[in-house]
Symmetry: C2
Subunit: 216 residues, 2 copies
DNA sequence: AGTAAAACGGAATCGATTCTTCCGTTTAGT
DNA sequence: ACTAAACGGAAGAATCGATTCCGTTTTACT
């Protein structure tokens, strides 16, 4: 039976270049705007027409799914790194902060924790795989006396969601506020303490709070 | 010049009844769904047609504004009550919890803190009037040694927003979770502590976390 | 240079959503 | 019964974003 000589022909040079631009633009915008990005927005940032976008992807869902996967993968990687350490207390707080930072600064990650997003296989997988790892990291930190015993593994997504929500709301007028909030939150996880962790990040100003009313 | 004999004629009985139904339905739905309620939804719950709604209100904005006002007014009232007390520490934590509860259980309040809502004079007024009162309540609690010194008045809306976000996201599958989170958060505000406040509210279950993926 | 296939741009289409208006019908009040 | 008030809900208008379609431009190769 005669088969096609070249099962996969080499794409044209401009097509390859545009695919890269598309992926770059989509990646940036996904971090900035999460699942709310429109294809038009992506096309514009890539300097392409929407029609061209569709020649490179199946549809919007497939594109976002592809962009989301590595972000969620990184969560698992970080968690495994924490479990590799032999200082359970600091390792747990390190992990929590790494995750909090990613959630705070990445709208797509915030959407995963905070928003009603279309069903994503990767999200289901993340939950299934993260659960035992996160639980173990927490248990070890508790065994080491670094974390209050009544903290539950299910509190972890809750804490991260809170951090994400804070930066989502206040980050626009006072970037970095998530870190101030995180410091506060972390202080509540210790079984006891004789002092507070110094709040390094400056508080918001009244003016910044006022800016919340003006759109965009 | 002849004037109208009855400047304001008595409305028909059914009109009066419907106006009340409308206000009741709108009030309920505003608490449940915040600024996202549609007039159609309100009309349906009131058992009226949308056309009828418009005979009772100017437009959507006016209706929501009217419903929002008393909620914000209550915030000021609670704050003044806290300032009337002579136990600054407990008074501050009492106030924070009262406000947190309202924010957590009322979507309209959450929207005020968390969402991009249309400009509302009442919100501007609230900010202006709450600021000095909230600041005073905090300062007194700090002077009494009940609250860490580096907490800033602008952190208050931030803390409340976080509580609201938590219940917004997790309340559907695990109502009351805001309270667990609040307890945790409150523990971080003390200058020091030798133990933790017992977390009375049970944590979420893994199943509940999983339900977050399914819409509605 | 010349040509055909590949790729492109963006207008047009489609669907969904929600405020608001309009008008024919129903109901309260006398 | 009759009239003015009130009602219901379809229709109009606007917005927004995914997806498709097709005439035009570019690349690759002779």
């Amino acid at each position: 039976m005669p088969v096609t000589p070249e099962p996969t022909r080499r794409p044209r040079k401009d097509a390859e270049r545009n695919r890269q631009r598309l992926l770059d633009a989509a990646g940036e915008l996904f971090v900035e705007r999460g699942f709310a990005v429109s294809l038009e927005e992506i096309a514009a940032r890539a300097g392409l027409g929407v029609g061209t976008v569709y020649r490179h992807i199946d549809d919007r869902a497939a594109l976002l799914s592809e962009l989301l996967a590595p972000m969620l993968e990184e969560v698992l990687t970080l968690t495994r790194q924490a479990l590799d350490r032999d200082d359970p207390g600091p390792a747990f707080f390190w992990l929590l902060r790494e995750l909090a930072e990613r959630v705070a600064l990445n709208q797509a990650m915030r959407d995963v924790l905070l928003a009603e997003i279309p069903p994503e296989p990767m999200v289901t997988r993340l939950r299934a795989e993260f659960a035992p790892l996160g639980t173990e990291a927490l248990r070890r930190a508790q065994a080491a006396g670094a974390v209050r015993d009544d903290l539950d593994p299910t509190d972890l997504p809750l804490l991260l969601a809170a951090v994400g929500a804070v930066e989502l709301r206040f980050g626009r007028v006072a970037p970095g506020t998530w870190e101030r909030f995180f410091t506060l939150l972390a202080d509540s996880l210790a079984p006891s303490r004789t002092s507070t962790t110094k709040l390094v990040v400056v508080p918001m100003t009244d003016d910044q709070l006022g800016e919340l009313s003006s759109p965009e």
